[in-house]
């Protein structure tokens, strides 16, 4: 899939999830390099600890190439039914969910084989 199309699907999938709660504000930020990108999305809705934990789990699930290569094509395009962040989780290098002022921030790092994490500020989990 071309990068532009892929980005559109990623943004669509994340936006669909955030918008399902009808936020007052939603901010999307993108940083692209040749071998990868960092996508960030923020909202101003209340989210419980359980929900944040579930988002983290879905977005950091084990990589499943057999699912990503086939069902991953539905990312951002399946708008009937509940949003499914696990479709994203199989395809991203890393993700992070954190509380901000009034809502949450979801960070996604996506890249190919030559992805260099040092070019992006992936948190160092010690």
């Amino acid at each position: 899939m071309r990068r532009r199309e892929y980005l559109v699907h990623l943004i669509s999938a994340l936006s669909d999830y955030i918008l399902s709660d009808n936020p007052t504000r939603m901010v999307i930020s993108l940083h692209q390099e040749e071998d990868g990108l960092h996508l960030s999305i923020m909202d101003d809705n209340e989210h419980s600890d359980e929900e944040i934990e579930k988002i983290e789990k879905d977005l950091n699930s084990d990589k499943r190439p057999e699912l990503a290569g086939y069902y991953g094509a539905m990312t951002g395009q399946d708008l009937l039914g509940n949003s499914r962040l696990d479709l994203l989780g199989w395809q991203v290098k890393h993700s992070d969910v954190s509380r901000i002022d009034k809502g949450i921030k979801i960070d996604l790092w996506v890249g190919g084989e030559r992805f260099q994490s040092s070019r992006f500020n992936i948190p160092d989990k010690k």
Binding site: P65, E66, L67, Y70, Y71, D78
Partner: protein, 421 residues
């Protein structure tokens, strides 16, 4: 090497699947004796395979079980050597391959399709592991290969080359079609490759007809219910339930209950979403209840019926459970009676089992939608077979995909229009 990199869960599934494959082979040898089984197995490779060719009726239970076991083993080997995890989707794929090895798939007719999908991956620089599910399920068009090789009347060298080319071609096209078809029903038809193979089969059957070939109807169906055929799936189901409890004990039962709350829409890996133990119990329960249904309506435990039960056992780890399937089954049953068909005749009996491809509709939108889906499904599947020359083994997946697309389109229109108001 792959074995040592596996975690405990995957090793348990590997041992379980291998045990089932070996038990099927041994059961076949015990029923019919090694000589008859082996000669029958070889004969099956050269036999037409379109719907409905019941391999149990054609060459006996033993040969059919050996064929099914080897087809399933091929799937398992491909999963392992490509480093793909054993979990819901691959468990479902292997059980489906075993099941359809009783009435259509053979090692010979699936090989060109598998290679075709492999070539498609190479062409777009994707690893085979990313397309493996498409490849394994795509073997539903194995009868196309057998038809070209053994039915259209060409001399053997040309027929075999044409068969190989046909299998390669459909395998090559499958990844693109499979993704396109997913968008149509948005994951509400579990047997998406059935829809994809049906779509491709439309074109293939038309080309073959244009070449002058006339399809003759095929119905080879094993009747009579020897005890070993009646008990095959229930015994397997109990084994799966026992394995589920052994794996996770009391937690497995709680996970089984939690699975019932999931919609089941593609891709729902119950083994990952809950646990292996819970999914195995769900598998066993679905297998038992499916067997009870077949027994109660007085249908035959034929190759296709047993194959169907194997399939729903597999998909009980990847989308199907009690709560999302009962209304679909009721819809199929009601439709059968309303249109004056017998529930125990081949078409309706298979539709009842395979109609569970529409379980996600019930899981997401409720039992009324599930009932409607099952009702429509029975009507559609009664007519879609000839469209693809009966070369698509997943005819119920094809009809189910069309039904799901219709229902999804209506619901989506209603939801978006209502929002505007």
């Amino acid at each position: 090497m792959v074995l040592f990199r596996m975690d405990r869960q995957h090793r348990i599934l590997l041992v379980l699947i291998l045990l089932i494959i070996v038990l099927l082979i041994l059961t076949g040898m015990w029923i019919d004796g090694p000589r008859k089984v082996l000669t029958g197995f070889l004969d099956l490779q050269l036999h037409p395979a379109r719907l409905i060719n019941d391999f149990i009726e054609i060459r006996g239970t033993g040969a059919a079980l050996l064929n099914g076991a080897i087809v399933g083993l091929i799937g398992l080997i491909l999963v392992l050597i490509n480093g793909v995890s054993l979990s819901g989707p691959t468990y479902a794929a292997i059980f489906t391959m075993i099941g359809f090895g009783l009435f259509g798939k053979t090692p010979l007719n699936i090989a060109p399709i598998l290679f075709g999908v492999f070539l498609a991956g190479r062409y777009v620089r994707k690893k085979f592991s990313q397309y493996i599910l498409i490849a394994l399920y795509g073997t539903a068009l194995g009868p196309l290969v057998s038809t070209l090789a053994f039915e259209i009347g060409l001399p053997y060298p040309a027929a075999l080359m044409l068969a190989a080319a046909g299998g390669l071609a459909v395998g090559f096209l499958l990844p693109s079609i499979a993704v396109a078809m997913l968008h149509m029903h948005q994951g509400y038809n579990l047997y998406n490759i059935g829809l994809s193979c049906g779509f491709l089969g439309l074109f293939a059957a038309s080309v073959i007809r244009a070449g002058g070939h006339t399809y003759s109807a095929a119905l080879q169906w094993h009747s009579g219910n020897p005890l070993y055929l009646v008990l095959l799936v229930p015994v397997l189901s109990l084994l799966l339930i026992a394995a589920g409890f052994l794996e996770e004990k009391g937690k497995a039962l709680r996970d089984f209950v939690s699975i019932q709350k999931l919609p089941g829409r593609l891709p729902s890996d119950f083994m990952e979403m809950q646990s292996v133990g819970g999914a195995l119990i769900n598998s066993g329960v679905i297998g038992l209840l499916g067997s009870v249904y077949i027994f109660m309506i007085g249908a035959d435990f034929s190759g296709p019926i047993i194959g169907g039960l194997f399939t729903i056992i597999g998909f009980a780890a990847f989308g199907t459970h009690l709560r999302n399937s009962w209304s679909v089954l009721l819809g199929v049953f009601s439709s059968t009676l309303l249109f004056g068909m017998s529930p125990s005749s081949p078409g309706p009996a298979l539709a009842a089992i395979f109609g569970t491809t529409l379980s996600p509709l019930a899981g997401q939108f409720g039992p009324v939608i599930g009932f409607i889906a099952g009702f429509i499904h029975l009507i559609m599947v009664s007519f879609t077979g000839p469209w693809h020359g009966a070369m698509n083994l997943y005819n119920n997946g094809f009809a189910g995909g069309l039904t799901a697309t219709l229902i999804v389109a209506v619901i989506q229109w209603y939801n978006s229009t209502k929002a505007e108001l």
